[in-house]
């Protein structure tokens, strides 16, 4: 059972290596991709089944890596990383379903490499290992945007790379500094999270980490790569960026913020909350003004990630569980919406909102799914998004009246741009481009249906999911309300 996490991490890489060695044909490659992702899904479900919600870190595996500096291969899963693991494991087969007809071999290889990268980042508990996965997961995305993207893509690929690497380099410096601090105090080297968490670390060290996460999430002021990269990336890369990598930024804020920087985080707390509140509104306004569908949802995604960051930073029970819930539901919903945007682009070759319209007339199934995901993102009752946003708003009110009022009102901005967008894209007269818009096929329905079911389930019966992480939250918050 120890090695199950390693299998989950490295299975896709194995598939990729196998494909490369065998010089796989397209069919074999597709088989390898599906096979590895389905195996990972099965393992992840088994993991969730055997997961003990009361036990903290589980399925731990430690092996030496660089002995002279105490760097280890150290992986483990707790409630929070389990959520990410499940999301990644679920999304990958769906993405493969989306790109079923993709004939470019490189695409499949990159996706498999990407899965290993994000999975590793979600599961590693040694800081050097985390840094390794954190950096390497960027590479496939970089090449996918630059190679398969559109609209000035080489530029945006480079911009994404340069900005995120800048953040992670700051994190690296912090990691090295903490490692040395541990050595100076205890006389031996270690980069394990559990070891480093024993010492307290200063605000500057925390700043290195925060910079990396703020760029990855992205919080406003650190977001300039976002719209361009989302706008030019191919659909699977967008889905991974918005549903997984951005969530990994929030995950990092949680995982390291609350273990390493318990004390020093207080320095940043008011600024981060202000930034998150500002981001909520700022990104929502950007989304309202945006003319391109994909860029609009890039900003919408930014707005929701600010909400997640807010939920994490207010540090009370409602806020944290709401943030967790929103991470899961927003990952599913935004995956759905970006997949459907990809479908629109494949059908009409444009994403300019002004040139769309009237899709509902010729493609009712399409309109239903699209509207469902959009409403879920807006947080309409009955969908998972509602539960999550409600929890965070309650948390925000508990934190302070002003914060609560601001959070609650700015969320309404999402309603504004979502409904206006729906009106312009789905309804009204058909434009020249959307005439004879082809409705969803069976494969496409199969790809979207699991997301819809999960979102409905999480909206109607949140009690099915909360027991997974409630005990860990209670444990973490300890005496706090």
């Amino acid at each position: 059972m120890d090695t199950v996490l390693s299998w989950i991490i490295f299975m896709p890489l194995l598939g990729m290596a196998l494909g490369g060695v065998l010089r796989a044909s397209l069919n074999l490659l597709r088989l390898l991709a599906f096979g590895s992702s389905l195996l990972v899904l099965a393992l992840a479900l088994a993991l969730a089944w055997h997961f003990d919600a009361d036990a903290g870190m589980q399925f731990v595996m430690i092996a030496p890596w660089i002995k002279s500096y105490g760097v280890t291969y150290y992986v483990g899963v707790d409630a929070f990383s389990l959520i990410l693991v499940l999301i990644i494991a679920l999304l990958m087969p769906l993405l493969y379903l989306y790109m079923y007809r993709e004939a470019r071999h490189g695409y499949w290889y990159l996706m498999m490499a990407l899965q290993t990268g994000v999975m590793g980042a979600a599961l590693s508990l040694d800081l050097m290992l985390f840094y390794l996965f954190w950096e390497t997961m960027l590479l496939p995305v970089f090449i996918m945007i630059g190679r398969y993207g559109s609209n000035n893509h080489p530029f945006y690929a480079m911009k994404l790379l340069v900005m995120t690497v800048f953040g992670s380099m700051a994190m690296l410096l912090s990691i090295l500094y903490m490692g040395y601090g541990f050595y100076a105090e205890h006389g031996f080297w270690s980069f394990a999270l559990s070891d480093l968490a024993q010492d307290s670390h200063g605000a500057l060290v925390a700043a290195g980490f925060l910079l990396a996460f703020a760029i990855k999430i992205p919080l406003p002021l650190f977001h300039t790569w976002m719209a361009g990269s989302y706008g030019s990336a191919p659909t699977p890369a967008v889905v991974i960026m918005s549903s997984v990598m951005a969530k990994l930024g929030a995950y990092g804020l949680w995982r390291f913020g609350f273990s390493l920087f318990e004390g020093s985080l207080h320095h940043f707390e008011p600024y981060l909350i202000a930034l998150a509140l500002f981001g909520l509104l700022f990104f929502a306004l950007h989304a309202v003004m945006e003319r391109d569908l994909r860029r609009m949802f890039a900003y919408s995604s930014g707005s929701h990630l600010s909400l997640i960051a807010l939920g994490i930073m207010i540090q009370n029970h409602y806020g944290l569980s709401g943030a967790l819930y929103l991470i899961a539901t927003h990952a599913l919903a935004s995956a759905g919406i970006f997949l459907m945007i990809g479908l629109i682009f494949a059908r009409v070759r444009t994403l300019e909102i002004a040139q769309l319209g009237g899709i509902a007339q010729s493609a009712p199934k399409f309109a239903f799914f699209f509207a469902f995901f959009a409403l879920c993102i807006a947080g309409v009752p009955g969908t998972g998004g509602f539960v999550a946003e409600l929890l965070i708003i309650i948390g925000a009110f508990e934190y302070g009246l002003a914060t609560g009022v601001l959070a609650a009102t700015t969320i309404l901005a999402a309603i504004l741009f979502i409904f206006w967008m729906l009106q312009r894209v789905l309804f009204g007269p058909q434009s020249r481009q959307t005439e004879g818009f082809v409705d969803l096929g069976a494969r496409e329905v199969a790809m979207l249906a699991p997301l819809v079911l999960l979102l409905l389930l999480s909206g109607i019966a949140p009690n099915l999911f909360t027991p997974l992480f409630e005990p860990s939250l209670a444990l973490m918050l300890g005496g706090r309300p």
Binding site: P64, L139, L173
Partner: protein, 493 residues
């Protein structure tokens, strides 16, 4: 006596081999001189390898040479690196040698002489013999740089290198004279004893002399502000010579730098520290600008080699501040830089041999589609040079930056990391060029031959060096390399 002969046998082999190649150089009958010189190097390598792990410290032929040549575990490791480096350089350029007409017998004789000079440099325990070894290596390399006399660039490069290099050599002599004047000896042990016997503030002349010596060595490794020659010389020289200079020669230079810093000048660390820090900052920043502004891959790699020298200066500075552990990180970094840069240059030489390209960024547009496997390996080397995690280059930087932080040099470590971030840009520019543009050319495949197999080997080493773990038994890991370096350093104390 016999034992001492055995100890210097590898060096003798190289000299004899060089002489033999010279005598054979005008033989009419076809002769694979490349393989012959590789064979000689391999013999010497094998002999040296058999001594690896022994911690002896012997002054060879003390009655004749005094204490000027030493054989210890430090020099053994450096000999191995130099011999291995030269061997790989010759082998990986196999195709290139065949494609150019001007590589005759003398070329390989000169390479062997250069290797002899480098080995002698790592054994030198006295400044005059160090100078002589340095000049043996340098003179051979001057000639090698200008070897393609049909190419005006090559001639220009040689001229530049000879003039500036001789000037630097003269400074070494001046420094040496000052040191001799101050201490009455040029032997490292005696200098160290002199420093120990006198108060700290009585060493003005010695320190000035030491600076002059250092200037020469820093000139040779291309530290800013002594870097004016680097890009032009690296660009003008034939590719195999560029590789030899960028990797193997640098290894030899660090052998003597480390021996001086860890040996006799260690007590004066405080005086070196500040100038070294300034040099370090200048080298890191200047080198980055140099690398950023190039449009030719060879020149870009040349510029970035200055930056890599800067990283090693960070570690050197940590040594002067008393963190002797940092010397291991220099050794590791030399190996890691060697592996990735030889791989990258190897691909360039392979392309130059087969396709006669100019090797600008433009030429690499769509390279990922016309040459998928070579492009993948080139990407690995670029990642490794940029210090991306999961490659050996990352571990090299990891050791260096950790060592700097250990020595209290957080600002320098931060600057190093920032420069590594800048380097992402120019290394990834090549990756982006290779993959982001279409090419009208069809896919080309090359079979396995000496060059491609070695490039592949370097790529595997780059990855293995970065992620190889202690999980798999019986395989050497990065840990083993660091252990080896640690063992080598012990003989200096």
């Amino acid at each position: 006596m016999i034992y001492e002969l055995f100890l210097i046998l590898p060096m003798m082999l190289i000299v004899l081999g060089a002489l033999m190649l010279m005598l054979l150089s005008h033989r009419e009958a076809p002769l694979n001189r490349n393989m012959l010189s590789v064979l000689i190097l391999a013999l010497a390598f094998g002999l040296t390898l058999s001594r690896l792990g022994e911690a002896h410290s012997v002054f060879v032929f003390e009655a004749i040479f005094g204490r000027s040549f030493i054989v210890d575990s430090f020099s053994t490791l450096f000999d191995l690196m130099i011999l291995g480096g030269a061997m790989l350089t010759l082998l990986i350029n196999h195709d290139y040698f065949k494609s150019r007409h001007y590589f005759d017998g003398d070329f390989f004789a000169l390479v062997l002489f250069a290797v002899f000079g480098m080995m002698a440099l790592s054994h030198a325990h006295e400044l005059i013999s160090a100078f002589i070894s340095l000049e043996i290596a340098s003179l051979s390399i001057y000639a090698l740089v200008g070897y393609n006399s049909d190419n005006p660039k090559s001639r220009e490069a040689m001229m530049k290198y000879v003039v500036l290099g001789s000037l630097a050599g003269a400074l070494f002599m001046l420094g040496l004279a000052l040191i001799y004047g101050a201490t009455g000896s040029t032997e490292l042990g005696a200098i160290a004893a002199h420093i120990a016997a006198h108060p700290q503030d009585a060493h003005t002349m010695l320190i000035i002399g030491g600076f002059f010596v250092m200037v020469t060595l820093f000139f040779k490794i291309g530290a800013v502000p002594f870097h004016a020659w680097v890009v032009d010389v690296y660009h003008g020289a034939p590719l195999p010579v560029t590789m030899l200079m960028a990797s193997t020669f640098k290894i030899a230079l660090f052998a003597v730098i480390l021996r001086i810093y860890l040996g006799d000048f260690a007590a004066l660390g405080d005086f070196w520290s500040l100038p070294l820090q300034i040099l370090c900052v200048l080298t890191l920043i200047g080198g980055s600008f140099l690398a950023l502004s190039q449009s030719n891959i060879k020149r870009m790699l040349a510029g970035s080699s200055v930056v890599h020298a800067g990283y090693m200066l960070i570690a050197l500075n940590a040594i002067t501040l008393g963190n002797f552990n940092a010397s291991e990180s220099i050794l590791f970094y030399l190996m890691s830089y060697f592996i990735s840069s030889v791989g990258a240059f190897g691909i360039l030489s392979f392309l130059a041999a087969h396709e006669h390209k100019q090797l600008t960024f433009e030429d690499f547009k769509g390279f990922g589609y016309s040459h998928p496997y070579l492009a993948a390996m080139m990407s690995i080397f670029m990642l490794s040079l940029a210090g991306f995690p999961s490659t050996i280059g990352f571990l090299g930087k990891f050791y260096i930056f950790t060592g700097a932080i250990e020595a209290g040099q957080i600002a320098l470590a931060a600057l190093g990391i920032f420069v590594a971030f800048v380097s992402i840009f120019y290394y990834f520019r090549l990756i982006a060029t290779m993959y982001f543009y279409d090419t009208p050319k069809t896919e080309q495949h090359f079979g396995f031959d000496t060059t491609t197999v070695l490039i592949l080997l370097m790529a595997i080493l780059s990855i293995w060096g970065g992620i190889g773990t202690a999980l798999l038994p019986y395989l050497p890991t990065p840990d083993a390399l660091i252990e080896l370096s640690r063992h080598a350093i012990t003989s200096l104390d």
